[in-house]
């Protein structure tokens, strides 16, 4: 058996593939333990830290979780609130009570109309569906700027460790950026050129998402982009 003690190298694995063998390893997300073997249950990037082995998904639809900030589109208005599509398997619902001000039953469309985009937080995931709120700071209707969509699995790369990547992008572009965990991203800048610069760099990140030293690559990218354009 191929036992590794010095930690395991990152690698792409496919479902059913033996990732690593050894009693010391523990099965994390996207894996299962089979005897002493850790086996992948999905396609992705296998990583190990402190003997915990997990598979980071490269693809797949967004899985809603409580506490996630997401960006959605108002699909319908009911007596009790708004039906919102967040590009997940289920539609989400924003009830009247989860809006920071009093709304009369007639005034729903003034707060959020069909087709409007909104930044919201997930407060419940159950068999009936997904519940949202816009009561906290930073949760609001989107009236201006650009909303783009990326593969939700690439969101952690766009944000970076402790927000390092997204802060780098904000600093270099001067834009306000809200990254929804569902892969929708709201970019608001002083002008469209700045917003498009963000769109472009985010595409760059999603294409190169698994190379090491991505932050340096992005810094370099901004240097070239700015140097080239002016």
């Amino acid at each position: 058996m191929n036992k590794m003690t010095e930690g395991m190298e990152r690698k792409i694995v496919i479902p059913g593939e033996l990732i690593v063998a050894g009693e010391e390893y523990l099965p994390g997300e996207g894996t299962e333990k089979n005897g002493s073997e850790i086996v992948a249950l999905r396609y992705g990037l296998a990583e190990e830290s402190n003997h915990l082995v997990k598979v980071i998904a490269l693809s797949g639809v967004y899985q809603p979780r409580i506490g996630n900030v997401v960006i959605g589109k108002v699909e319908n208005i009911t007596f009790y609130g708004w039906v919102i599509s967040i590009d997940a398997a289920d539609d989400a619902f924003l009830p009247l009570q989860e809006v920071p001000k009093y709304v009369s039953k007639e005034g729903l469309s003034e707060v959020l109309d069909i087709g409007d985009m909104v930044v919201a937080k997930i407060i419940g995931v159950n068999t009936r569906g997904i519940d949202l709120t816009i009561k906290s700071r930073g949760l609001e209707r989107i009236d201006d700027g650009l909303v783009i969509k990326i593969n939700p699995n690439k969101v952690p790369r766009v944000i970076g460790k402790e927000g390092s990547m997204i802060n780098l992008i904000k600093d270099n572009s001067g834009c306000n950026i809200t990254v929804g965990q569902n892969g929708l991203i709201w970019i608001l800048g002083k002008n469209i050129e700045d917003e498009l610069l963000v769109k472009k760099v985010i595409n760059f990140i999603t294409e190169k998402s698994f190379i090491s030293g991505l932050t340096e690559e992005v810094e370099e990218w901004f240097k070239n982009e700015k140097g080239g354009n002016k």
Partner: protein, 266 residues
Amino acid sequence: MKTPRVTANRIDEYLSSGKRFDGRKLNEFREISIETGISKKAEGSARVRIGKTEVLVGIKMDVAAPYPDSPNKGNLMVTSELLPLSSSRFESGPPKFPAIELGRLIDRAIRESKFVDFEKLCIKEGEKVWSIFVDIYSINADGNLVDAAGIGALAALKTAKFPKYDEETGKVIYDEHTDVSVPLSKEIPIVTTIYKIGKSLIVDPTQEEEDACEARVVIGGTAEGTIFSMQKGDAKEISIEEMNKVLELSKESKKNVFSKIEKFLK
């Protein structure tokens, strides 16, 4: 998800300053690539990519009776399917309007231009003629499927070879293709579409841009400016002045497309 309204507004705003999100000019196409002979069982076939948009077009031929009102002419049948494989927006089931329209738009451009010489498809007047089936499938829908389908139909027709026909048994022998091409005229009908977003007119939209578009005009015609077929789509009015611009842009786009696909049509 359809492109959000805020984003659509930004697209419009940026277009009015003469610019597009992906850096193209308003009259500029994405990269066009054509691959022919992608399905050996077809009499002719082509894969066309425009940016991330991809269509497959195949030609099948059969011997059938002519229509009573045109006893010495072959038949043409263009159909299209917008496969659910190609976009989450397309559903399974009987073809819906966009798929039916796509087939008809291509059909009319080919038919009205007399690109196919139908009289040469006659085997025996009133009894037997060749039928040509042009079948169009979307593989990845990222805007401007109509123009891609038009290019695909041209390339597939151009490379098609008749199967062998046994006059005695009246059977078509598909396993043996002849080296006879479909009789085509030199007047090549190119289908290009002009899209209206706000006050701007563009060609070859991405899906994002197509979502922001309010009206479109599909025109089949030659690179030299002859027009054979036309259809304004979507419920938004176009001024006469705009229509004049549409015609100019359409002619220019046909020249442009022709220069890119010319080598596949020889």
